[in-house]
Subunit: 311 residues, 2 copies
């Protein structure tokens, strides 16, 4: 049944940006310490910062200091989200290894989030990609609300595939990922999107998927996506993310949990789970509460109990 | 990809027994109220009680009063776990619709739990099944630690399949399920066990699986099991279960989450999710804390936000 799974899977850490952006502000030094700890786990990509205006997202203020303060480990790409030209220039000035640009497939969400129609976003992606490529920096387009929108409900997979094709062809982006912004992805929806992408001629083995665990299907989504050949997933240490003050909102899939399942399936991630669990503990200290990652507490399934009695 | 999934799936509620047995004692009247609320959701099977000695598991004291106090809804089977002949007689005296008998495949766990070697357990299952059948009451054998044991580590799927065959042939049990006692099931382990059962000639479409969400793979396990043809799963309302005082222990997969994913996959469960979410809220009141079910808070993916602004 699992003979066609990818041999290796890249798990990209998004905790320091997507995970922390809805928290109360975490001091720059603590964000740097978290990223440095994550850099020692074997992760190859860390979303380290967001160059949005600090008035828009106060917890991401100081991103330039974060990017300059971290200790760069060879083999790790430090990524930055950029909302516009100003953000892109700031990120490039800090030597971000990759830029991320976001557009929502849901017009309602895109207008609410960045006040643009989807077609305007495509135009912006073209411009930002040109800018980044002049500095020889790759760009990834993140298509958000790709599995549904809390405002619009279902999003047509064909529509997602249409924009995916456009940002690849017109935008010239180097990579593409699909975000489950509203936590509406289920195994069915994942397969429907991947099928639509294949119809559009998009190479499934090269895309990335970004799931939240809002309805507890996060790892089931990853499972079926791996069966379809996807080999790149975002995750946040501890399951950071969502809005801690909103009881219905929940975070990203937890890096610990994803690494544990993916490695158990026989796909290599290159990530040391023990070190990752240490980072999860650090993340809990940073935000001052228990996080939803399960393997953070249980450890891997290979962790057995030492029996007290002779058996 | 999902063309071979079962058309319908039975989800059996285990919250009132497996879910509550590690809580502080819940008054009998509240246990009855929870079961009565669950009876109105469309569930067809509810694990209502456990006839273990109240000194062994104090929260299950009063199980006879629970069984006699509930309002039986036609079409719902009220099940009871029985550890021995005395328990079986008590459960039959309360008109339990089905009896459950448990044995661990792990010898270490079986000895710690019920102080028997696995072979002694098989003998006990034969005797209890004879007893129940004289009262025309069906019996299900639950093979626990079927996906791993916290003491012994990996459990050979061949060994599980061997005992499954024996309790069917020698025990004459009417149904069979496999418990993830230590929360060690992953999609890989699930497929390995199902493959071993098929080699042993056991009809996968008739077995039940019982998962905990200890390492966040609960719904991924169910997903791959459905792909293999399994159509019966246990779940606990709210994700009750585990030991609330032990930070590493976690509960059963949550009924709300399982129903949501299974129905989204196009398999019917007959269960009304709104009523189930109401039961989850009731379960949280009973135990006095937030439970891990996600759909309990988020609602189904079809729940959209009413936008305040014109869009």
């Amino acid at each position: 049944m699992f003979t066609d799974l990818p041999d290796s899977v890249e798990i990209r850490e998004v905790g320091p940006r997507d995970g922390l952006q809805n928290e109360t502000t975490i001091p720059v030094g603590e964000r740097i310490a978290l990223i440095d700890a994550l850099s020692a786990t074997g992760l190859t990509a860390i979303e380290a910062a967001s160059f949005v205006h600090p008035k828009a997202i106060p917890p991401m203020a100081g991103s330039a200091e974060v990017m300059r303060g971290i200790t760069r480990v060879p083999g790790v790409r430090y990524r930055a989200l950029v909302p516009n030209e100003r953000g892109a220039l700031d990120a490039l000035a800090c030597d971000a290894d990759e830029l991320e640009v976001v557009m929502s497939i849901s017009e309602t969400h895109n207008r609410k989030n960045i006040n643009m129609a989807p077609d305007e976003s495509v135009k912006q992606i073209i411009e930002l990609t040109d800018l980044a490529h002049r500095e020889e920096t790759p760009v990834e387009a993140i298509l958000s609300t790709a599995f549904g929108c809390a405002y619009e409900g279902d999003i047509s997979p064909t529509r997602v595939a249409y924009y995916a094709r456009r940002v690849l062809d017109e935008g010239g982006v180097d990579a593409l990922s699909f975000g489950d912004t509203s936590g509406m992805a289920t195994p069915r929806v994942v397969v429907e999107l991947l099928d639509a992408l294949e119809v559009e001629g998009i190479d499934i083995s090269r895309i990335g998927l970004h799931f939240h665990n809002t309805r507890n299907t996060g790892l089931a989504n990853i499972m079926v996506a791996m069966q379809k050949g996807v080999s790149r997933f975002d995750a946040a240490i501890g399951g950071l993310g969502g809005c801690p003050y909103s009881p219905g909102a929940t975070g990203n899939v937890a890096t610990e949990d994803v690494v544990h399942m993916v490695e158990d399936l026989g796909a290599t991630t290159g990530i040391d789970l023990d070190r990752l669990i240490h980072c999860g503990q650090l993340a809990e200290e940073l935000v001052g509460r228990q996080l939803p990652a399960q393997v953070l507490r249980s450890g891997p399934r290979t962790r057995t109990v030492v029996t007290e009695e002779p058996v």
